[in-house]
């Protein structure tokens, strides 16, 4: 079995980074960044997600099939969000009655 065991040190470092990012995202919310505040919030959230997925969920050591399934899942989520928004964002553009 090709089980890979990470050290406690690695996990502690990941935890501390996650806690620091939580502090940063909370503090930044009180700063006026205009439309970029949501961008910053999402970038930090994605970084935290990657840390949890890669280290705590062991994607780093997963086999190719598992990685492919995870990427496939994110692709479908992307389709869900992009197609939904491409409808709602463009509704007002053509002036068609009923929006």
């Amino acid at each position: 079995m090709s089980e890979h065991i990470d050290s406690t040190k690695t996990y502690v470092a990941v935890l501390l980074t996650l806690l620091a990012l939580t502090g940063i995202t909370t503090a930044v919310a009180y700063v006026d960044l205009g439309p970029f505040s949501v961008v910053v919030a999402l970038v930090i959230a994605v970084c935290k997600m990657l840390l949890v997925a890669l280290f705590f969920m062991h994607i780093r050591h997963s086999n190719q099939l598992t990685k492919l399934v995870v990427l496939g899942g994110l692709l479908w989520l992307g389709i869900l969000l992009v197609l939904t928004l491409s409808d709602f964002i463009t509704r007002g553009w053509t002036g068609v009655p009923g929006k």
Partner: protein
């Protein structure tokens, strides 16, 4: 008959060729389940995005009425629980039965703290009349014709945090089962798959909260204070 049949063990059921194949199948199965969960929550995030885009000012005011300090503390609590969960899996890899039990109990404890804080927050909402559908619903700082849009925000807030909390409750059940099994001595260096895939589920629920926290609690808070 059956001259090549090996004794069935927990780590190698009859239908698998190797223990590694069995473990990979379990991991893949959990990931596919988690992908269905991503799509499940994804629909709610899509609804959230559509309505936040439609009523950005109302969402900012409503978001600022939530308790960001409690939200941040709860995020920390959940991150700690993910850490103890991954340490339980590590103890499984090393075959340290008592450490598996200890870290699972710690994870259960942090999960309980999270749900307790959530209960306090929800109680506050009832006291402040911020419950969508309430006749007395009123959010301070908004015009009467915006109150409906604020109810929309709180509908999303309760649906998303409620669904997340429901997943936490399921996780608490899973952890209790794992602790019971670990106490019985079911797990060893060669077989701790339930702890491993249970961990995947717990971390997934953590990731959902990682997105819920900034999106619900932290919209343009500089406008408020």
């Amino acid at each position: 008959m059956a001259n090549h049949v090996h004794a069935e063990t927990l780590e190698l059921r009859e239908q698998f060729n190797t223990a590694e194949q069995q473990k990979d199948a379990s991991t893949l199965g959990m990931w596919i389940f988690l992908i269905t969960e991503v799509m499940f929550f994804g629909g709610m995030f899509a609804a959230y995005t559509v309505y936040r885009r439609a009523y950005p000012e109302v969402f900012a005011v409503a978001s600022s009425s939530l308790n960001a300090v409690l939200g941040a503390i709860n995020t920390g609590v959940l991150l700690f629980s993910s850490f103890t969960m991954v340490m339980a899996v590590r103890a499984g890899q090393l075959g340290q039965r008592n450490m598996i039990i200890l870290f699972l109990i710690l994870t259960l404890f942090f999960g309980g703290v999270f749900l307790g804080v959530k209960a306090i927050e929800w109680t506050e909402k009832f006291e402040e009349h911020h419950i969508p559908g309430q006749a007395a619903f009123h959010l301070e700082g908004l015009a009467p014709d915006q109150q409906g849009h604020a109810q929309l925000f709180f509908s999303l807030y309760f649906a998303m945090t409620g669904l997340h909390a429901l997943h936490m409750v399921v996780g608490v059940g899973l952890l209790s089962f794992l602790i019971w099994q670990a106490k019985k001595g079911t797990y060893s260096t060669t077989y701790f798959t339930p702890v491993d895939v249970g961990g995947l589920y717990w971390h997934f629920v953590d990731i959902i909260w990682i997105f819920l926290f900034p999106l619900l609690y932290l919209i343009d808070r500089h406008l408020g204070k």
